[in-house]
Symmetry: D2
């Protein structure tokens, strides 16, 4: 039988806390899950450093990827009302794109990407199309199948409806992660009625739209997203850990560049430090490797690297204070001088960080990063942009909210405050 039509002898199921069961019938899907590149996602946490605040959040991108696949599978197989029959290859394409959309994520994704100016989407495409096990599986469907999947994930695939299932303002990705992250952190946000949303999704030409009667379910989903962002994803303590992580990588690169001799040669990092990354270097790097080196670096002679690694591993994080970049930029300058004067390198120990989110956006053509809005379909077939019907969504749509914090080692300053008037001065400036 044709590979793309091949079914497993008996359906396989994965027990999943969020969707109860994840069902696999297609041989291709089963084979993709078994590849080395997909299994690697088990060693990359879904929420990066968040587990240092919400200890339950130790779940990996592996299970999230299966979850996104399952949602898309249900949309397709349980009958997407109104959509004419799915072509078999397009169905498989959509399922694979769902399963593989996060394939290129690196360890502690955002922090890692920032430090080395990488782009996980680019790596997703490279892994799909490069000399990899997953590419080998996908090519058996058809020679251009890997590229097509890359196109769906990169949003350049011509059928925008398929794209919008995987990535839009109400897509399977978000629906899985909101529920999954809520489950593992244990917070009460993150609940919305996905069953209902699946029932009111309708295919329109260019995207998925929502039956008007489902508006409140979508409102609930948007609010859920809003709460998760501010309560979980942007939690200031998890950002503190991220700040430290970035500074560790900065410091290690700096040491490497300046010829420092590490006790353990940082082999897996060299190509990153030197910007000569090969695909295999990237695939081999996971969070285990980082944590292993952090343990080793904790014993390095370089005090900054050693201290930062101890802080990260043993959760001795930086404390934080609010600050307003518009009015307090001078204060930062002043603090930097004081830090230097006190013998604490501000480059590593006085760090500003901003988080910012646009919970929902309507369409502003011409602007960068324009986002396709969510449309409601009225009983007479007309489409209406969500925020025009929902006053709650209207209240938060298009409004970027930003939170600025400054991070610093309060513990160290406070411990020596009495002996050192400079420390005391710094603390008083920072804590107001």
């Amino acid at each position: 039988m044709d590979y793309k039509h091949e079914k497993l002898f008996e359906e396989k199921v994965f027990k999943d806390p969020v969707h109860r069961y994840i069902h696999v019938r297609d041989k291709v899907i089963w084979d993709v899950i078994g590849t080395r590149e997909f299994q690697r996602l088990r060693r990359i946490r879904q929420l990066g450093t968040t587990y240092l605040v919400f200890h339950g959040a130790e779940h990996s991108r592996f299970q999230h990827s299966l979850g996104v696949y399952e949602i898309v599978r249900r949309i397709i197989d349980d009958g997407f009302s109104g959509r004419t029959e799915w072509n078999d290859e397009e169905r498989l394409l959509t399922l694979c794109a769902a399963l593989l959309h996060d394939l290129g994520h690196g360890p502690f994704s955002h922090a890692f990407e920032k430090v080395f100016t990488l782009d996980h989407e680019k790596f997703t495409q490279e892994i799909l199309t490069g000399d990899t096990e997953v590419n080998e599986v996908l090519r058996r469907v058809s020679p251009d199948f890997p590229e097509k999947i890359a196109d769906v994930i990169g949003k350049t695939y011509p059928d925008k409806l398929v794209v919008s299932l995987i990535s839009s303002q109400i897509d399977a990705d978000r629906m899985d992660y909101l529920q999954r992250d809520a489950y593992y952190t244990g917070v009460s946000y993150g609940h919305f009625d996905m069953e209902r949303i699946l029932r009111v999704m309708r295919p329109a030409e260019e995207q998925v739209v929502i039956k008007f009667s489902g508006m409140h379910a979508v409102e609930d989903y948007i609010m859920s997203r809003y709460q998760m962002y501010w309560q979980v994803y942007f939690h200031p303590v998890s950002r503190s850990a991220e700040v430290i992580l970035m500074k560790i990588l900065h410091r290690a690169r700096h040491l490497h560049t300046s010829g420092y001799r590490f006790q353990h040669d940082p082999i897996p990092f060299k190509s990153f430090f030197e910007r000569t990354i090969e695909l295999e270097d990237y695939i081999s790097l996971d969070e285990s490797v980082l944590l292993t080196y952090f343990q080793w670096w904790r014993n390095e002679k370089d005090e900054i690297l050693s201290d930062l690694c101890d802080r990260f591993l043993n959760r001795r994080l930086f404390q934080y204070a609010e600050f307003d970049p518009a009015t307090e930029y001078r204060k930062i300058g002043e603090l930097e001088s004081l830090f230097k004067e006190a013998g604490i390198d501000p480059e590593y120990y006085l760090v500003t960080d901003s988080s910012s989110d646009l919970p929902y956006d309507f369409y502003r053509p011409g602007e960068e990063n324009e986002r396709v809005p969510i449309y409601l379909q009225t009983p007479n077939g007309e489409l209406r942009e969500l925020s025009r019907s929902s006053e709650i969504v209207d209240a938060i749509s298009g409004k970027r909210r930003t939170d600025h914090k400054i991070y610093f080692p309060e513990d160290r300053l406070a411990a020596n405050r009495d002996d050192n008037p400079l420390y005391d001065k710094i603390l008083r400036m920072l804590k107001g």
Copy 2:
């Protein structure tokens, strides 16, 4: 103020999916949680290789330890009916023992311990009493405080009531892990009414007993344990991963002993291979380190080591068949010969494994590992052993159930079955 009476300025809470919140008021508890040895538990999974079957089971011993603490804290602080006042130090002792009972677990505990014949309880005691951060915190309470905690965990502490809260057939440890493991795997077993059990626990001289009217809640707990053992903990696929893990460690030790030159020097393992383990070696080893080396060993020239590491990392596990050691020992011998003949080393590729559990045991004095049974307290104050009142518990008590499996690389044999009549013969013998 005396350290042992010191309270945090404001109660700290951890969000926890199982107990909703975990509450910390005592400064000592907060400080213990902040030690390097306790934070290390974040890098050791609660269920070892189980995540390769139940992908949700990625949770660490860190959160389980907090959970056990919280249960004991509730028992003590919410008023253990009938117990006369807790002495402050004894209360703190019990809380610390709850929090620290798993401190000495190594990476992939059971497999690792078996290969290197180690005992995690011994390491718990060493970490508590050795030159460690946690010892430093505990000694501030009183000089013999660390030893006392070690005694509670080692069950040699004189007050058996305290011991039984942490370790008995119905203790805080089991109550936490059954619920927690059920939550993270997503299985429907593992539910029982802990709230009710906490309400019907009564202190007797030597142990915790259960008010008679709570019998059914305890039955439910025992059944829950029974189901979790056979459905989750002894799942044959997770045992397959454990088998491979042990064989990796065997092989690496064998290579090291026989003078093989590794591409990456296995520094963190040397003292284990050579039986010269220092406490620091043990504390530094966590699952990240193992996974990092497995990635490196996957590229070693030694084919066995390389193959086994690939199998573990990429979930290409051994298949299994049932076998009965009583009647089939000859068959094993025969299979071993066939494997050798086929050029597959049976030491690594034909592995028998047995799991065995005693879901509940009544008291059999004089026998090794005698376990204190659960007693029900009738309205007139009399104690009656649980299995005498509960027919369900009676049905399974004292009955050791054992499951024997033989593991082997069916994939490899099947792939070459047609070309190699020996492979075919082996497969037919194994699969019946």
Copy 3:
């Protein structure tokens, strides 16, 4: 279009706390739900007097009936592995039987039936085949359709597989009520993995069998049933309310028969008192009517009727003591004499009640009420009776457990104990 093939223009859904949503596409099902006889089930509680102990248990037979329908619908429509296509009419027949299996239940079913020696299954059949709205709907499918449904419910329908979905030791009825009653009472028993059970159900010739690998899920279901029986259904306080309810009806009948003049003429009860019940009398009687009359009877001059009604409405129930009918029958006789001597009619105020359950039964041909056992299907297709494979089920199977209680108004006796030595004597005898 043929009525039996007619589909609703748009699928209707009912929001259900247990199954999330209940789906209806068939016009026949929709019409059946809309009949007066089915809507009447809203006014009959699923668990009779249990709400007086578990205040959440106020749910009606209406929602349970929908739940059973939904389970059967899923079994049929989601593809019952292995079953050759369902004939359309047989599918509808099975769905209707699921929906209507409790149609003939009267108010506070068991108590009511006992007092008037009625049989709700007989009434289910009469309502299906009599001059009713539901009959009118069903006849439109085919003239013998109502009779066929009655046959399925009465277990005389030739296709035993269809019968076993609705009524066997592992049927949709039990699967719904265990989960639903657990949900509404709030107890932690009653959970089992129905999703898994639905996946391992296989059609055999005469009944549904279970794939061997699903054994533990079935064990869990059996244990769940066992716990629900003893923790919820046979709760002694709810039985106390049932005892009082029966005595109210006894007393009212007795008064009617002996020519007592009620202040409110007990019109709806007359045909029950006089054994001249018409179908319409039965259909009109629901729990509202009983509760209304109980309020009125609470003001009747007859002290016994008035007192019992006050007790029922205001939850002033009888207390209870254990007793052993085998050895204590003399004591009962003695107590009856003492009650009479004390001026308390033992017929109404000294009541023995026994509850008894057979949690699971294997096949004992020839015995009355023989129950079809649950069979497991081994990988090679052989059928094995459940208790031969499961030691837990074996432990409780075939063992009838009985609980005997004696109910009496302790409040009344205790209030006058000091003034009345007889009361004191009675209390001492009863409370041991």
Copy 4:
């Protein structure tokens, strides 16, 4: 011992699906629960006619009242941070007010009150202070205790902090009903983190305020309330049932007033029809009595009464259409004429209904029904009104949203549409 200090020998617990357990230690609370007036709440549904849409919503005011009590008990007994010791009598007063705040609700409260222009709060006060069982219990605490409770419920009690626990924009009443109604209907709205809210509540002089860091939990609670109102409480189908219920009572009163002879004398209603209601009449009337009479009235000769009762009992509700009172008042007049012409009495069969809610209100002094807003307490102790900090709450605060519907018997009109051009005309006007 003093009655108000009297404790039960052993704490009593009620199993509750929402709060797990409800705990009672105080003898007074236990006695209040046992009174006839409190037990009567078992026969009044929490959500009136909502069970005709959400079939799970069959729960009574009895359980809601216990739930509100439990929340307040936890606030008081688990230590309301910052509140100086509670005086014993004030504690009991607050608990009783929580338990009894809904005591005066009649059957199908809102509909019933509207028809007979009654006020359930007035009845709550009358029951508390009148010749009732509950008054007898409360007076034993102190002679003015019943009046004080009435004052708390009526918001005239001097200690506004006590009042605000029972009734404010974030009170125990709302926190219980949102969660409880969500649980029983099965909707996914209604979840918020009550545990967190309880932890961030702080007593201020005049009311409960919220620690600033708890803002997002309060936002979630407000959104939950918003969604429950529009998704559940104002569901148009449940309003249809309410419309019919009101029309039944209107018709019955009209018939009684105009001398119609009922087959069953409507004794329990007479004093309501004639406005001569005694307290006992009110207490005796519950939903069972209404449903009993509706069954009888279904067989009355008066066609309107009979039809409306059949519609209510058997869920043959009116259909509805949107309408805008501002612009379509003429259309209503026209429709009324057409209805009359068609021989359908518009007074009973063409009914407009409006639902309106103010999800959260800030303070507008001087306006009627001014509502005390929710205040956040910043770290420096300052109070800030919620909507000034939360953009989501700001979006919906102070904005009254209203929904207008017109209800009519589409079934009847449609059934005869082809024969009757008037019916057709009416339908076309109504359905647009």
